[in-house]
């Protein structure tokens, strides 16, 4: 398959993937027992009021029409009115998406750095190999919310180094207003040269980003280690060793350089893990992201808001997977076949 054809097929299947995910969501929300109106109003609601809400949500239409409406609304970004806030959901949700993007971005950077250190150490020293395996197991078994709370206790409450909750101190934002350009506070502040906001936002980011980064780094270090082992046992490394190239150069120039590409790609495919972990991390640190938005909306029974959050998650997952796949096919042509 030529590159152009692969990219076109991959991009063309992306909406199909979104539709599948939306269909699953639709089935869960509308077809499973548990009527959305009872979910919103509770089981003992006034029947007249139930009818009214059903009409407002379009639930009095036939199911197939509801399904079509749901898909069209999802693709055009019409998420309806939030029951809790009485404003369009789309007004509420985009700042939340930006906050989640900011958190996951910094977490990914921390995770990649941690994974690099662990994988390099374990490739260089035999003793660290056991440590690397232990590290992966620990990152998996430590509940992210528990780690977050413990870090809050140590670095927030006892040492008072970092704030334990929120994205920025509101006073700072009032004194030094930032214009949303990307919606990512640190980036916007940097663009405008707004140092007080930048530093304050960064301080708020440290604990949640480290928490989420640590949890994600386990899978990453495992992937990188496998890629390194594959590279280091290859013929070109044997040839390099035979030519007497120093071990250190072999490790970095031959091992790491060849392992880094598959690693970055597989790291990109961990988006589901990252987003899932972000929900718990955001909730632990009161981070105003999409995850806390979803949790709050679920607890407030804000049906349209829940639906909107799920739709956005579906789009994020599919877009990231598609982009990563295409980049992979650019680098490694074997994927295309």
């Amino acid at each position: 398959m030529s590159l152009a054809r692969y990219v076109i097929t991959r991009v063309a299947t992306a909406p199909l993937l979104v539709i599948i995910l939306l269909t699953i969501t639709f089935i869960i929300l509308r077809v499973l027992p548990g009527n959305p109106v009872t979910v919103i109003l509770g089981p003992k609601a006034n029947p007249a009021f139930v009818k009214e809400v059903e009409h407002e949500l379009g639930l009095d239409k036939p199911l197939w029409l509801q399904y079509i409406d749901f898909l069209i609304d999802a693709f055009t970004g019409h998420f309806g009115i939030s029951y809790r806030w009485r404003v369009p959901v789309s007004e509420l949700i985009w700042p939340r998406v930006a906050a989640t993007v900011e958190l996951t971005l910094y977490s990914s950077i921390i995770a990649i750095l941690l994974a690099l250190v662990v994988a390099l150490l374990s490739s260089k020293f035999k003793i660290f190999d056991k440590f690397a395996r232990l590290y992966t197991v620990a990152t998996y078994a430590i509940p992210v919310f528990w780690l977050g709370l413990i870090l809050q206790l140590i670095f927030g409450v006892y040492l008072k180094w970092f704030p334990t909750s929120g994205r920025i101190d509101p006073e700072i934002l009032i004194l030094h207003p930032v214009h949303p350009i990307t919606g990512l506070l640190t980036i916007d502040a940097l663009i405008e040269g707004n140092w007080p906001v930048f530093i304050n936002a960064l301080e708020h980011l440290v604990l949640p980003a480290v928490t989420l980064g640590f949890v994600i780094s386990g899978v990453m270090s495992r992937t990188l280690r496998q890629a390194m082992i594959e590279a280091l046992t290859s013929d070109y490394v044997r040839a390099a060793r035979a030519r007497g190239i120093p071990e250190k150069r072999i490790l970095i120039n031959y091992g790491l350089r060849n392992a880094i590409i598959p690693f970055i790609i597989i790291a990109g495919l961990q988006i589901a893990l990252l987003l899932g972990g972000a929900v718990l991390t955001e909730s632990t640190f009161g981070w105003p992201g999409l995850g806390t938005f979803l949790v709050e909306s679920i607890l407030a029974r804000d049906y349209n808001a829940v639906q909107a959050a799920i739709v956005i998650y579906a789009f994020i997952v599919v877009i990231v997977n598609t982009v990563v796949d295409i980049i992979y096919s650019l680098i490694d042509p074997r994927v295309r076949y």
Binding site: T25, Y140, I142, L149, I150, A272, V279, L294, Y313, V317
Partner: protein, 283 residues
């Protein structure tokens, strides 16, 4: 095919070489199961009753070894009874997921064609989506409760079994003995049950343990977020959710101990799963 039969078919039960991971994992799991079963003998308190002053620190009062929480409930009692909820949810979730995912994978891999392509695409898309978020919306629709949490977790694990079983089925179905069975005129279900399944199902065993680990930590996460077990239940995730306000006052024990239990329980099943998959791969 009964369980014993299944176990005998596993290679590692024939020439079982003690694997440190498996043994450590099993030891932790057995300890946890004992904790859950013997709960009433390990503590005199009702985990939901307010039995003492709130916020008694741990290791101070011998009748409350791990202290009390903001309601004056005994932390140790809640941990012990919490093991029951945690293990029960995970057991149900894994059992349901395997009961659905394994046959689907077998059928899809063996029959092939359109059915296989549709199912694989569906399962792959589900697999790509963050599991905890899917579980959150399912329990949002179904409502809080032990069975509902187990069901929502089961849904997110079905693709895992499906993928593993389908993959192995694809290789097994090309084997000569399967072809022979088919040639001899064995009906589809007979072939699947007696010729394919016994050689495929063992690969799902390590997945069981790994899913168990994931189910424990995810159930705790759901309960922590308030979409899992109802807040009245003794449960590690619920405990963490109730103790969120304690941290700011420097009260650490109501957070530390429940989290430690989640960690230990997850670790136990994780080690077992890792160990088993090592044995399956190496044996």
């Amino acid at each position: 095919m009964n369980i014993l039969d299944l176990l005998l078919r596993l290679r590692f039960f024939r020439r079982f070489r003690p694997n440190a991971l498996v043994i450590t994992g099993l030891a932790i799991i057995i300890a946890l199961v004992m904790l859950a079963i013997l709960a009433p003998y390990l503590t005199p308190y009702d985990p939901t009753a307010e039995v003492a002053q709130p916020y008694i620190p741990p290791f101070v009062n011998p009748s409350h070894p791990l202290g009390t929480n903001f309601l004056g409930q005994d932390v140790w009692a809640r941990l012990v009874y919490g093991a029951r909820n945690s293990l029960m949810v995970a057991l149900l979730a894994v059992a349901i997921a395997a009961a659905v995912g394994v046959p689907l994978g077998l059928l899809s891999g063996y029959v092939g064609g359109v059915l296989d392509r549709v199912l694989t695409f569906l399962m792959d898309s589900m697999y790509a989506f963050p599991g905890i978020i899917l579980a959150m919306i399912i329990s949002f629709v179904l409502g809080a409760g032990l069975i509902n949490v187990a069901l929502s977790l089961a849904v997110i694990y079905i693709p895992t079994y499906f993928r593993v079983v389908r993959g192995t089925t694809l290789t097994v179905k090309e084997q000569l003995y399967v072809e022979a069975a088919r040639a001899a005129g064995a009906p589809l279900m007979t072939t699947l049950r007696y010729y394919v399944a016994p050689n495929v199902v063992p690969v799902a065993v390590p997945v069981l343990a790994l899913n168990f680990a994931d189910a424990i930590i995810t159930e705790a996460g759901l309960s922590f977020l308030g979409v899992g077990l109802p807040p009245t239940q003794p449960d590690w995730g619920v405990d963490l959710s109730l103790s969120r306000g304690d941290i700011v006052h420097g009260v650490w024990w109501t957070t530390f101990f429940p989290g430690l239990m989640i960690f230990i329980a997850t670790l136990g099943f994780l080690l077992l799963g890792e160990g088993l998959s090592e044995v399956v791969r190496g044996g």
